[in-house]
């Protein structure tokens, strides 16, 4: 037990607090205190991690702790973090923090909503701190199930259909995953579930790897919106309540990329080398295909959902390039996309909450009516299309430069194709901004709408600051990630 377990205990305490809470004020109080504590914890963790590394800690994972909880199957609660998980934990806590403020005025059943929301957050945090395959899988499931209720109860539109589709597809993925995990466990001799130890053993026969690698990769890939298993994303995001979309696109989709890297590729490097190209083509398709699809959508959330497909495709794409710079870029892209897309979903939710429409043809000239939200929207858009100074540029450029350093010409050509997505991104983002923000508002009902409230401003400003901070001074986080990516990638390079 060490302080990483706080990531489980704080949400647990929050759950208890919410359970006992009576009245809206207490519920909000518990959420604010809890999510701020998590944010503080993450910031503290980043500082602790960096100073430990600075002091010369050379272990692959720091702050390790382990407690056996099912000895006969070697299942342990073991935690530990490296640069990648630190970055992901920071991202998650930022999103949980802002998500709390975004759902400030959510009704009805506020208490129950926050209960599920916190449970979801707990699953996410647990996933990122675990280094035990089974515990990881368990937290993964903890994060998935609340999604069904959150969308099904508090969603909008065809919410039952969307909730069902999302849950079933992701459950399908996790079924594959379970098989894959068991395969890895027994393939490596069935002596440990600890990822680091399995990696050290490095004894899964190639023939077995070739079975378990695609299964595991696909299992995580579904969550990472791998083409053609991405269709849950537009429907799910469109129906989910705002903060859930934020958490889902911002963090949950990153579980996919993280898992692909940490489990599938790290533990089965030979198979990854041999079969990577198949998935590389699929992710390359996602990148371009998602961007093109977003160009003609008319629903705000669909645009962003397809944009997420494109950007998350880039994460998996870069991971499969299997070199250090590209993988660093992939983790940066996870961070950057998490922040950007969360901001986008938050703003879309706020606009939708006022205009009661998400059809971009029914809105015009919002800039004059809600200047704060509109400026936020423009910034989010520019960040999304990779403007220097925001995190997107840093991530995309790291990916492109890293990928293009690949020795194989086929990979380089794919990189060029993926690069073209930045132009298409510009097309749909500018189309969106031009349509809904600029011009003169003709809808009388819209003229009376109000601008953002204080809690919405807080959420938007927090996210923008994080994006700009990452975009203006990227080198520290890039170093941190790159150093942690190194050992994993060195396994991959034959």
């Amino acid at each position: 037990m060490n302080f990483l377990s706080l990531y489980i205990f704080i949400p647990l305490l929050m759950l208890v607090g919410l359970w006992l809470a009576k009245g809206l004020k207490t519920v909000r109080g518990v959420m604010v205190v809890g999510s701020s504590a998590l944010l503080m914890l993450s910031i503290g963790l980043v500082i602790a991690y960096l100073s430990a590394r600075h002091a010369g800690a050379a272990a692959e994972m720091l702050f390790r702790a382990e407690m056996m909880w099912y000895p006969s199957l070697h299942i342990a609660y073991s935690v530990g973090v490296d640069g990648i998980s630190v970055a992901m934990l920071l991202l998650s806590s930022i999103i949980v923090f802002t998500g709390t403020f975004v759902s400030w005025r959510l009704k009805p059943l506020t208490k129950e909503y926050f209960l599920w929301f916190t449970l979801l957050a707990m699953g996410v945090f647990g996933f990122f701190i675990s280094i035990d395959l089974f515990t990881m899988f368990m937290f993964y499931e903890v994060a998935l199930i609340p999604m069904y209720l959150l969308i099904g109860v508090w969603g909008s539109g065809p919410k039952e259909y969307a909730a069902m589709k999302l849950t079933l597809m992701l459950m399908g993925g996790s079924a594959l995953l379970l098989i894959g995990i068991l395969g890895i466990f027994y393939g490596s001799g069935g002596t440990t579930m600890n990822i680091l130890e399995i990696a050290k053993l490095h004894n899964i026969p190639l023939a077995q790897q070739c079975i378990w690698f695609p299964i595991t990769f696909l299992g995580f890939g579904v969550l990472g919106a791998l083409f053609p298993f991405h269709t849950w994303s537009p429907d799910g995001h469109a129906s989910a309540p705002t903060a859930v979309s934020m958490l889902h696109a911002g963090v949950l989709m990153k579980l996919g990329g993280y898992g692909c890297f940490r489990v599938a590729m790290y533990l089965m490097p030979e198979a990854a080398n041999q079969m990577g190209w198949i998935f590389l083509i699929l992710t390359g398709i996602s990148v371009v295909y998602g961007a093109f699809s977003a160009c003609v959508q008319t629903d705000l959330k669909y645009i962003n959902a397809y944009s997420s497909v494109s950007h998350c495709g880039l994460v998996l794409f870069a991971l499969l390039m299997m070199n250090r710079a590209a993988a660093t870029g992939a983790v940066l892209q996870m961070l950057s996309h998490g922040l950007t897309t969360a901001l986008f979903f938050a703003l879309i939710g706020m606009i939708y909450g006022r205009t009661h429409t998400r059809n971009i043809n029914e809105m015009r000239g919002l800039m004059r009516i809600m200047p704060f939200l509109s400026v936020g929207f423009v910034l989010a858009g520019l960040a999304n299309l990779g403007l220097p100074g925001f995190s997107g540029f840093v991530a995309e450029m790291t990916i492109f430069v890293g990928s293009f350093q690949h020795f194989d010409a086929f990979h380089r050509v794919l990189t060029i194709i993926a690069c073209s997505s930045i132009v298409i991104t510009a097309v749909y983002i500018l189309r969106l901004i031009g349509k809904i923000l600029y011009g003169t508002c003709t809808n009388k009902a819209h003229l009376k709408l109000s601008d953002a409230t204080w809690e919405e401003r807080l959420a938007v400003i927090t996210l923008i600051c994080c994006m700009a901070g990452l975009g203006l001074a990227p080198s520290w986080i890039s170093h941190m990630i790159s150093n942690s990516v190194g050992p994993i990638v060195s396994q991959l390079i034959p």
């Binding site: 295909y289 093109f292 790291t398 293009f404 350093q405 031009g434 600029y438 080198s475």
Partner: protein
């Protein structure tokens, strides 16, 4: 010279300050903050230029390349990283002067021009952003830093073109400008990627061992792709279509971004990579020349028939940038005495053009402010009302037409000399285009200040001279235009860095002067009088040509077709349809088939205990049989 970093930091701070706090500031305070910042930047730039050019030369006769500031901003691999820094060499220092001067003039001018506009503070914060990014672009120490600022320049141009965001035309124009240049930037980015892969670095000097190992063969590709990026920003055919539309932005913005600074970024890029072009990719350099020449001719011919004065100036800008590209492209060696003259000529023309073209735009702004229209039909006879503007406009027109002693003569003459050295055909083509330039410039000059006066409108509006904030920049720029030609430019900038003495070659100079004078005479003959029978009959006689040119040879329509029909109609819509109906359909089909299967086998689970018992019995009997047998 570490202080040079503040040339970048100050405008950035001003951008942040005005952007965040501008809402609570008065117009005057916001304008003052922006202008004073730029004043400080300009002062630092002049100081830098003075110190740089007065410092002793190196032993080989060149100026030292200084990198006072450089730090790693974003590491990629052990060898590749984006560095941010400041690089001082002759061309970047020259660009510093150009940018800070024009930007300062525009800042002052905007006080009067944008007076009382909604979003005044936002306007100044965007101007600061633009100045910062443009300065960062020219001071870049490596190609990737250049790309970073290149993108920022693009976005500030987008924001400024769309400044009047309630006008549909401005929205469309800003979108178009951003997307077209972004498309070109893709070429630039891929070029950088290829360059870094084969050159092993982002710096302007590729790793020689990598080049020896086969990288040199790929350099033409890398440089060619980079040129696509440059062609996009510098509005070379066929990527020029965004520039005329960009005139929807406020006129001072057109003067700053779309005449003097951002649009020459492409020329600057080629000049920056010039040592590589000349050694590894002379063929690509020739392509640059041909593209430049064609664009110059194409744009000049369109400029001859446009009636919107800002459009004429925009096409004129495209044409003049074509001149600069040609000058770079006709270089065949690094030595200015042996075919490398074009490099100096191009930079010289960049410098003089920035001054007189921004002057033209600012004059146009003064006129538009008074008559509230861009169309020549609303003007005519304005010389009586606006004498200062008139004289300034005339000086600029003479300069662009290449009439001595104005600055344009000297730079254009060098370009023509370089072109004649390359091949006589190129020389004559460029000379004719120079003649066309003189013709269309004097066409609008007479259309605005002479010609038929729109009395009705003028009686209503009472056009008069603008306030001092607007006229002082005109006077300053006109002064620069008069004397800039006498700067011994070759002493500072030349293709190999050594001092080069410009001497005017009499035959070329005479040719260009004669062509210029003849064209002006033609324009006087056709357009000076109140009625224009010759021009009208010509327009009637060549009706198709005239209409085609008036519609800018339908290039926009081609683009419209490509984007709307092909990209949206033939790619995006089908993809979205496939996604919703085929891929999602497959998923829904699997869900449906699971449902249908369970529905059909549901009747087995009838709930009738007798049926169950019967099946059970049969099963038991079957098992017994199985065991017995």
């Amino acid at each position: 010279m570490e202080y040079t970093i503040f040339i970048l930091i100050l405008p950035f701070l001003s951008f942040l300050f005005l952007g965040l706090a501008g809402k609570w500031m008065s117009h005057r305070a916001a304008g003052l903050v922006g202008t004073l910042t730029l004043g400080a930047v300009a002062a630092m730039s002049y100081l830098t230029a003075f110190l740089y050019f007065t410092a002793p030369r190196l032993a080989d006769g060149t100026f030292a390349t200084l990198i006072p500031v450089n730090f790693e901003w974003l590491p990629f691999t052990s060898t590749l990283s984006i560095d941010m820094g400041v690089l001082l060499d002759p061309i970047s220092v020259m660009m510093l002067i150009v940018i800070s001067t024009v930007s300062l003039m525009v800042h002052i001018y905007s006080f009067g021009y944008m007076k009382g506009e909604r979003g005044f503070q936002r306007y100044y914060s965007f101007l600061s952003l633009f100045s910062m990014s443009m300065l960062g672009l020219v001071l870049a120490t490596n190609i990737f830093q250049m790309y970073v600022y290149w993108e920022l320049v693009g976005v500030s141009s987008y924001l400024l073109i769309g400044f009047f965001y309630t006008r549909p035309a401005a929205i469309a124009a800003s979108k178009k400008a951003f997307i077209v240049t972004r498309f070109a930037d893709l070429g630039f980015l891929i070029g950088i990627l290829v360059y870094s892969y084969y050159g092993g670095t982002f710096s302007f000097h590729p790793d020689s061992s990598m080049l020896m190992a086969g990288g040199a063969a790929m350099m033409p590709l890398a440089l060619g792709l980079m040129f696509i990026g440059g062609a996009g920003k510098s509005a070379m055919f066929p990527l020029h279509i965004w520039l005329p539309d960009a005139m929807e932005g406020p006129t001072p913005v057109s003067a700053l971004i779309h005449a003097a600074t951002m649009v020459v970024a492409g020329v600057y890029l080629v000049a920056r990579m010039f040592p590589l072009f000349i050694v590894y990719a002379p063929g690509v350099l020739h392509i640059v020349a041909y593209v430049g020449a064609f664009t110059a001719f194409f744009a000049a011919s369109i400029a001859c028939v446009q009636s919107d004065i800002k459009r004429v100036l925009a096409f004129s800008t495209i044409s003049q940038i074509g001149f600069m590209m040609v000058a770079l492209g006709v270089c065949t060696s690094l030595d200015p005495n042996l075919g490398g003259l074009g490099y100096m000529a191009s930079m010289f023309h960049l410098f003089t053009h920035a001054m007189f073209k921004s002057l033209l735009f600012l004059c146009a702004g003064c006129i538009i402010e008074q008559v509230h229209s861009n169309e020549m039909s609303a003007m005519g006879g304005l010389r009586k009302y606006m004498p200062v503007t008139h004289i300034a406009f005339l000086i600029a027109c003479l300069a662009i037409s290449g009439i001595p002693p104005f600055s344009g003569f000297f730079s254009k003459d060098e370009i023509l000399t370089a072109s004649f050295n390359f091949s006589p055909i190129m020389g004559w083509v460029m000379a004719i285009i120079a003649g066309m330039t003189a013709f269309y410039m004097f066409r609008i000059y007479f259309g605005i200040f002479w010609g038929t006066e729109n009395k009705e409108l003028h009686e209503k509006l009472h056009p008069h001279e603008n306030p001092l904030t607007m006229t002082i920049p005109l006077v300053i720029l006109a002064g620069i235009t008069c004397v800039a030609g006498f700067i011994p430019f070759g002493q500072f900038i030349s293709s190999n860095g050594q001092a080069y003495h410009i001497d005017i070659e009499l035959s070329t100079a005479l040719t260009s002067i004669i062509i210029g004078v003849v064209s002006i005479a033609l324009a006087i003959f056709m357009y000076m009088r109140p009625t224009q029978p010759v021009a009208d009959s010509l327009a009637r006689k060549f009706k198709e040509l005239y209409t085609a040119a008036y519609h800018r040879f339908y290039v926009d329509e081609v683009y419209q077709f490509i984007t709307h029909r092909i990209i949206f109609g033939c790619i995006s819509t089908p993809i979205a349809w496939i996604d919703r109906h085929i891929i999602d359909g497959l998923l829904n089909f699997s869900a449906w088939s699971a449902y249908a299967t369970s529905d059909s086998i549901r009747s087995l689970q009838s709930g009738r205990v007798q049926q169950y018992a019967f099946v059970f019995l049969l099963g038991a009997l079957a098992l017994i049989l199985l065991l017995i047998l």
